[in-house]
């Protein structure tokens, strides 16, 4: 559904993104991970048509994203990291505004807006202004604004920053619903547990390049063997028996507690990335 091929972008001498390729299929959530300054935001901007790549192409449902051509843009919904809401307008009016920008109008727009509000659980706050919302409610409204035109692809740039577990869980449920409806979702985050719960595939980007593109299992397999791997044995163990097991080749199933965070740090290093 969403395909990026050999995207590159430079700002002066800084090569922000180099030869990045990725794809997201319908009914799939792909995580886009990377340290600060790795090139995630530039990649997202190119995928949404905000920034024009120096090289490479983006296609959405077979339609090429080009400057001045809006057909592909209309197929993408962006949930930006910054809350792109207008505090002075009621929640429903925010959604109606963004729907209007995608050419919707009349009853179709109003019904889509109601559905979007319903999905994110804000129906009863339709007439309230975002200024009165909690952080979690604002994040959900931010998602609703991106969904009102029923895009085939949803790009979510750190959509759960600074919210409570309940709101985060609600958003996860929303995203899983959208996946079940066949939407293609690209999800950028710094939270590994989110990726573990949501993502079918993970793309890790660093220094403007893709360093990994795999499933969770595939990524875990990239770690070198860990000699200190722990085992859990159920039930009471006789010390003599334990000694005998240790002297033999142990046939047991190890608990795989290798976290994605370990994989991430293995691939991108542990040095701080303070550059934005």
């Amino acid at each position: 559904m969403l395909t990026a091929t050999s995207l590159s972008k430079s700002y002066g001498t800084l090569k922000a993104v180099q030869d990045v390729s990725l794809s997201v299929a319908s009914g799939q959530i792909v995580g886009l991970l990377g340290p600060n300054g790795a090139g995630k935001s530039t990649t997202v901007a190119m995928l949404c048509g905000i920034t024009t790549p120096d090289a490479g192409t983006v296609t959405v449902d077979g339609v090429t994203l080009k400057a001045g051509a809006h057909a592909a843009k209309a197929l993408v919904g962006l949930v930006p990291q910054d809350l792109a809401l207008i505090d002075e307008l009621p929640a429903l009016d925010n959604i109606l505004l963004f729907g209007s920008l995608y050419g919707l109008g009349g009853e179709l727009l109003r019904s889509r807006a109601r559905l979007a509000l319903e999905l994110v659980g804000l129906t009863d706050r339709a007439r309230s202004r975002p200024a009165t919302f909690s952080g979690g409610m604002k994040r959900r409204l931010n998602i609703a604004c991106a969904l009102v035109h029923d895009p085939k692809v949803l790009v979510l740039d750190e959509p759960t920053v600074g919210i409570d577990p309940q709101s985060r869980n609600h958003i996860f449920d929303n995203l899983e619903t959208l996946r079940a409806r066949g939407k293609a979702l690209l999800y950028t985050t710094h939270y590994m547990e989110e990726v573990e719960r949501l993502c079918d595939r993970i793309v890790i980007i660093d220094h403007g390049q893709v360093v990994a593109d795999d499933t969770q299992q595939g990524l875990r397999a990239r770690l070198p063997a860990n000699p200190s791997r722990r085992y859990e044995i159920s039930g009471a163990i006789d010390p003599g028996l334990l000694a005998e097991l240790q002297s033999r080749s142990i046939q047991s199933k190890p608990i795989d507690d290798t976290s994605l965070e370990e994989v991430f740090l293995h691939l991108t290093g542990k040095a701080l990335r303070d550059a934005s």
Partner: protein
Amino acid sequence: MSAFTALVRKDVRLFASNRRALLMSLVAPILISAFLGSVLGGTPSKPQAVPFAVVDLDRSPVSQKIVKALSEDSSFAVQSLPQGPAIDLVRKGTIRAAAIIPKGFGEATTKALFRPTLTRPVIELHYDPSQAMTLEMIKGLLTQHVMQVVTAAAFDPSAAAPALKQARDSVANSATLDPAFRTDLLNMFKDIEVVNNQSLTQGSGKAGIAQGLTLPYTTRDIQVTNGETDYNAFAHAFAGMTVQFILLMGVELGVGLLLMRRMGLWQRLRAAPLSRGTLLGSRIVAGTIIGLLLMSGIFAAAIVVFGVRVQGSWLGFVAVAIAFAALTSTLGLLIAAIGRTPEATRGMAIILTLLLVMLGGAWVPTFVFPEWLQSATRFVPSRWAIDGFDAMTWRAQPLQSVVWPVVELLGLSVVLGALAISLFRWEE
């Protein structure tokens, strides 16, 4: 609703919902215009009398007549006071000036009238330095009344005889006067005596020259507006303040776009399937509409509350308003295109705006500027707008008189808009 309309509507709604911006842009110009207009003359009315005090230390018939004449002059609100309290009132700013008529004034002036070589008595004028402009007016009116009273006294047949005799003797005994000139002067004194004697014989005493020298003319003051209504100082004040606050509104629009960039809203709009023309064009149209709405509100108050009238062409008035609103909107866009941070941009833009407004004649009329600056301000767009509004209100000019200012304003709008679009940073 099209995307363009939705964006325009959004900007207008946002501006309307921002109470601070509304207060700044609508109420503030009305209040300041009301103040400036009233200071500069307000609505047509009788001129106010100048508060003024006279201290008569002489108490002679001449000085008493001067005080009476001043009191009867509607240009003055005269108080007759002792010297100390009179000067105190000037110091406090309660009155504009106090004239001290010295002892012996009446006698001395009658003598000095015919003998320029004599030391003339001095009227001390204590005046408020913050009201120095009224000093010249007071001097002029004082001169008129003193001359009238003193000459009347000089030519009073019964009172003037001793002074005339003294003057005639002085001339006759002068060793330095040219003989021919002396003869002329003596003849003049003789003629005066003849006239005085005739007045006494006829028993009038108040006829002819005995009334004193009066101004040989009067004036009729005619305001050059449209000849139908008097000048309303609020008209110019509202024109100036409207231009100032609409320009400040334009600055806010520009800064608003920079804030949208900072908050990520601009990026979100750019992700929508909208052309650059739609994004920037909607800002220009929204800014123009907001400017027009504000101008409508401000001038509605001017018309309803302060009696300002569009005595020229309504079409011309609307054309100036639209052209200036468009100019302000494109200026705001240019500010957004050039500016980096909202804070720094706002500061710089406000300074530029105030400079434009000052040079445009909104604060003080441009005629007080030096000649070279007056010539330079002909190229200042705020002056085009203020002159245009003046022409369509109190100057009562026809539509043709604002064609060129409107063309200039619209032309500059196109230039600023093109510049803003070419300089606009699309890549973050």
